[in-house]
């Protein structure tokens, strides 16, 4: 996380967001269940997960979405704000595995005097597969 502010004028298409590495543990999944209210047993009971056709306990998809949200807010700086985060859950993450959150700038535009940056974000598992992908729209301040 950077304390410094990034400004709209300083951003270029293809710029990379600083990667964010996570390694959710079973303990973190319990904490997320408490914070989010998602108590579905596929996230803490491996036998229950097996009855649902899953190979084990899996990480909550929305926790990974929040990791991508953190990637975006860290990059946006203290005055930027994430206006949209559209996630698709494409694969499964398992507790104890590293999740690397990455992103790059795909576009920038001004609308009604406000400056927005579009980003493509994704969460990679250790095999390099993108388990969650997202499109984000981030408002950034101007040096103006």
């Amino acid at each position: 996380m950077s304390d410094s502010q990034i400004y709209y004028e300083d951003v270029a298409v293809e710029d990379e967001l600083t990667p964010l590495v996570k390694k959710p543990t079973p303990r973190q999944l319990v904490k997320w269940a408490g914070a989010s209210g998602d108590y579905f047993a596929i996230h803490y009971d491996k036998d229950f997960s097996a009855t649902k056709g899953l190979p084990g306990v899996i990480v909550h998809g929305q926790l990974v979405a929040c990791f991508l949200g953190q990637l975006a807010t860290d990059w946006a700086g203290p005055d930027g704000s994430v206006k949209r985060l559209a996630c698709s859950y494409r694969g499964i993450n398992f507790p104890g595995q590293t999740i690397t959150c990455r992103g790059h700038v795909t576009g920038k535009y001004t609308e009604e005097g406000q400056n927005y940056v579009k980003c493509g974000l994704w969460a990679e598992n250790p095999a390099g597969e993108n388990t969650v992908t997202a499109k984000a729209v981030i408002w950034l301040p101007s040096r103006g």
Binding site: M1, Q62, C66
Partner: protein
């Protein structure tokens, strides 16, 4: 014997309707708990006087009620398919957020191995105590049949 419908009539009858999930008084501790669960130690979320919640925090407001509705409707397999969150205003401690939900669409199909799948789309709306729109979220849930048919 009549086959049990994969999508219950109760859920199907809610299609196109909107109902309230709950009203949530935002306490600083809720935001802190959320940040600790995500592992997000950005000081922006920890300011005592003018703190705000991370944009994804609203996903938790009504999350338990939403999860119970889905798990009761689809006791077999269920996963998140997509989450499309739009934020309009920050959520701050002492806000009161009303979460309402609209069941937008249910699509069923018979997939591989003759098992049923359903894609269920909900639109959630979050309003604060001043009736201002704070955020909207479109959730796509994927339900799948696990038992052999």
């Amino acid at each position: 014997m009549t086959e049990q419908p994969y999508v219950s009539d109760e859920l199907r009858n809610r299609q196109g309707t909107q109902w309230a999930i709950g009203s949530f008084l935002i306490e600083k501790g809720m935001i802190t708990r959320f940040c600790r669960a995500v592992g997000d130690n950005n000081p922006r979320w920890q300011a005592v006087t003018d703190g705000e919640a991370p944009p994804t925090f609203v996903l938790t407001l009504g999350g338990e009620q939403f999860g119970e509705l889905m798990q009761n409707s689809f006791p077999d397999g269920l996963l998140h398919g997509a989450t499309d969150l739009e934020t309009h205003l920050p959520v701050r401690p002492r806000d009161v957020i009303e979460t309402s939900i609209n069941l937008s669409n249910i699509r069923e199909r018979r997939g591989a191995e003759n098992k049923m799948n359903a894609f269920v789309i909900f639109n959630l709306t979050y309003q604060n105590q001043r009736s201002e729109l704070v955020a909207t979220c479109r959730q796509t849930m994927t339900a799948y049949e696990t038992k052999d048919v």
